[in-house]
Symmetry: C2
């Protein structure tokens, strides 16, 4: 606002305002570097810097050779997490109820517990675990990543089964009583940005889910979602 703050911010704020109030709708082209220098009477460096800031904020995207464009605001996908068993666990099921064609691939392998996973499953370090890696796609585009860990003894026939954790554990005589999820946000790791085709500047929602049988953690998973495309809803009954 003040005339004293950096000129590149003047450009950033003006464009941001135009995007927010709809003057520049999604898909609209942003003036090029050369045009910005003329329009705002700033140097090339300032124009370039302003565009970079808007890119890292996730408001615009740059296409080399073409220009910068207001990013298509991806529809926020609500993921509803209700009390069980009214609604089943997997995020994929939530997505399908919204009429989206969701497909997924998975790989199963064996691994040893890392310090973090050992802590979450209350197992000794380097305990033998079965790891399942999921990649969910919605209409072909990558939607979310998930990695699930559980003790080997419960994971038999995992590759053939389509049942969720609750049902599968129940077949082993283990009754899941509670699911806990912890959500926070962070910068995507390079592999995640790659797998999820994340544009620069987006963060991910990281959901840590653990299935409990009483006081024993039975399965834990890390679910990674593009932060700008998902909202997760939790419902808690009162009284």
């Amino acid at each position: 606002m003040a005339t004293s703050d950096p000129v590149y911010l003047r450009v950033v704020e003006d464009i941001r305002r135009q995007i927010n109030d709809g003057t520049l709708p999604p898909g609209a082209p942003i003036p090029s570097r050369a045009q910005l220098t003329r329009k705002y009477q700033v140097g090339e460096t300032a124009a370039r810097h302003a565009l970079r800031v808007l890119v890292t904020e996730g408001l615009i995207i740059g296409r080399v050779g073409s220009g910068h464009y207001v990013r298509e605001r991806p529809i926020l996908m609500p993921l509803h997490r209700w009390r069980f068993p009214e609604h089943p666990t997997p995020f994929a099921a939530d997505l399908q109820t919204q009429g989206r064609r969701v497909t997924w691939e998975w790989q199963i392998d064996s691994t040893e517990a890392t310090p973090e996973i050992a802590r979450r499953l209350r197992l000794p370090l380097s305990a033998k675990l079965t790891r399942t890696r999921y990649l969910y796609r919605g209409e072909g585009r990558p939607l979310q990543l998930a990695v699930s860990y559980e003790p080997v003894e419960f994971a038999a026939h995992l590759d053939e089964e389509r049942r969720g954790v609750v049902a599968r554990m129940s077949a082993h005589g283990v009754r899941i009583t509670e699911i806990r999820e912890t959500v926070h946000t962070r910068v995507p790791r390079p592999a995640e940005a790659d797998a999820l085709q994340l544009p620069a500047g987006t963060h991910v929602l990281h959901v840590e889910r653990t299935h409990w049988a009483g006081e024993r953690p039975m399965e834990t998973s890390d679910i990674v979602l593009p932060g700008d495309r998902f909202r997760v809803t939790y419902s808690m009954p009162v009284g």
Copy 2:
């Protein structure tokens, strides 16, 4: 990795690796621009760009006149959201149970429902609402922002009361039956970045909380938390 990708990325990846594997512990100084150009045999632009990328990733902070330093990994504060009434609603209560000195300030005023708030409270546009703005601090430093909206008729004596929404509504004969929270992540608005003293590159967790009496929404609030300092935990009973 490949020798073909930009040189600034070589610098970024090398420093990022050193931070992740502990070679550069929190607080450790990063080589200055001049040192980086010598060490990695790159130009000033590349060194500068590498540092900027690491800053926007939230891994390091720059102090003018001094240098860049590995950011102190702020302790992730868990906020547990259980079934009610075993645990009360406000985030502040969760924080206090962790033995942190939490203080808060609030301002109450009247406002009209914006389209978004009207939708959430299922009220006509420009319905009269009481708005309460909270700023929570932990050990003096700003922790979280919250804005609560409720119809004026329930908000009498709001400024004198210390009770939560559930108890206050109950005094008006309204029984809150459910709390729904939606969490997503986004770039902080300038006012939020300012109020929460957010370093560049951090995102916020935005929790939308609504208190329901049956099928009627009674109160809704927007809670904004620094994304890198908070994790929110939800517990869902099964069966």
